[in-house]
Assembly symmetry: C2
Homo-oligomer: 306 residues x 2
Amino acid sequence: MSFNPLIEKIIEMKNPTVAGLDPKLDYVPQYIREKCFEQYGRTLEGAAEALYEFNTGLIDALCDIVPAVKPQMAYYEMYGWQGVRTFARTVEYAKSKGMYVITDGKRNDIGATMEAYAAGHLGLTDVDGEQIAAFGADALTVNGYLGTDGIDPLLKVCAAQDKGIFVLVKTSNKSSGELQNLPLEGGESIYGRMACMCDEWGKELPGKYGFTGVGAVVGATYPEQLTELRREHPSIFFLVPGYGAQGGGAQGLVGAFNKEGLGAVVNSSRAIMCAYKKEGCDETDFAGAARREALRMKDDINSVLS
Amino acid sequence: MSFNPLIEKIIEMKNPTVAGLDPKLDYVPQYIREKCFEQYGRTLEGAAEALYEFNTGLIDALCDIVPAVKPQMAYYEMYGWQGVRTFARTVEYAKSKGMYVITDGKRNDIGATMEAYAAGHLGLTDVDGEQIAAFGADALTVNGYLGTDGIDPLLKVCAAQDKGIFVLVKTSNKSSGELQNLPLEGGESIYGRMACMCDEWGKELPGKYGFTGVGAVVGATYPEQLTELRREHPSIFFLVPGYGAQGGGAQGLVGAFNKEGLGAVVNSSRAIMCAYKKEGCDETDFAGAARREALRMKDDINSVLS
């Protein structure tokens, strides 16, 4: 239960970041794509193989300096079940390299259906008595619009398996305020209410660093809300998208952390995956460029924390 | 664009229902499970094969009397990529039998990520110039918590491919009111606001029966809200879960329909899939029992509409 394993890795590596694995085919170096298309054709399978080779190269280059990866399900589903197979293999590979895996699926449903998502993504699936980890990630992003019925089944799996969830609270996108910022009667915002629900749900998953196993997604693009939510919800661990590519800078992240420098893991996807393009290095050095960008990001964030 | 193809099937079959394909392994007749486990072992693959055989039997029995099926992604993801392959094959099989397919994924994300979901589930995926339908459903359920950034990419795909989306508005579960019923400043509920956002988004997808391509999920378990939303949002087509198994009866559905008897498609999952258990017939007649229950449900709903 809770994010203890993630927080321990963050402390050990002195690096509160997570590398997003959102592999659009355009991000994959040409030489990998060509090799896979030659072998499998311009098919979903060929694309999925290219993504897998790209991902494993990135994981090899990052696993000793970055505590976690966050594969985004959409970029795997896009390539059909073949893409989802690459997702499963990527989770397995990252785990084998000791990385913490956050599946970004923003899943949501109720009762038995949410149990199915919880079993598939974080827990074990029962096949006539055999207990099998279908995807086996450590944490899952979820959407709380359906209320407690949609969260309870996750809490049970998280308690049994030492896993956590991140609930969407204040997302990083431009239109996130359309609904999330609306004031309820009494003045509280919808995202503020959602954070309070996270506090409630989190009581079932206490953690030893003061953070529960029910975290929140809060965008780096809204530093004011980051700071406000950190202050008002000290036991919610944050997953923070929007650093770098989406425009949020390290200075705006300060408010996400507590006095001990804990409280958040900051995501970067494209900036790491496509570092080789920005650097202009040879594309066969994509993994080296990713590592250099990950180290730069680590230093950037640590510089504002100390 | 819009739900024209679904509404045409509903009119033609005089049946405003959709059969949910939420195949928990427990629902699958023993003889199918045993055959698949013998061939593939007690594995994710064995489970996935059993689900596929069950699904195709149901589709064969329903395709001339029920306009649509609604596979629930969670029950496929639960069995890993092998389960997702069964999902893909199920969509393909249902389409080959002329059925309209609503993927119940409650997907949500922003920008390029939502584009990836839209391409994968409803549109076409580009693989180096090849345009491939990864899953190829007709409609997708989505969660609007992230606002317009999360919906716009879907609207583009729906417009290009004659597809639709159902946005979660007032869900059927017990705790749906925790967030959805909260009153905003001015008194409007959150679900009411979400319905207004659906109206806005729907303007881009007008349909010839007066309904746009942006529908709403509204639970049969809340007949008052069904009636209120039908009255205030005449151009939103409803996907209505919660009939039967979740306790909602046909009488409570009346408010979901307009004077022409249109406006909603009502889902039933377990009652159809597990009809053979309730009937107590031989399990090899599971498909016949599903058909009998589907006809009973059709008559039940039509009886309150006329």
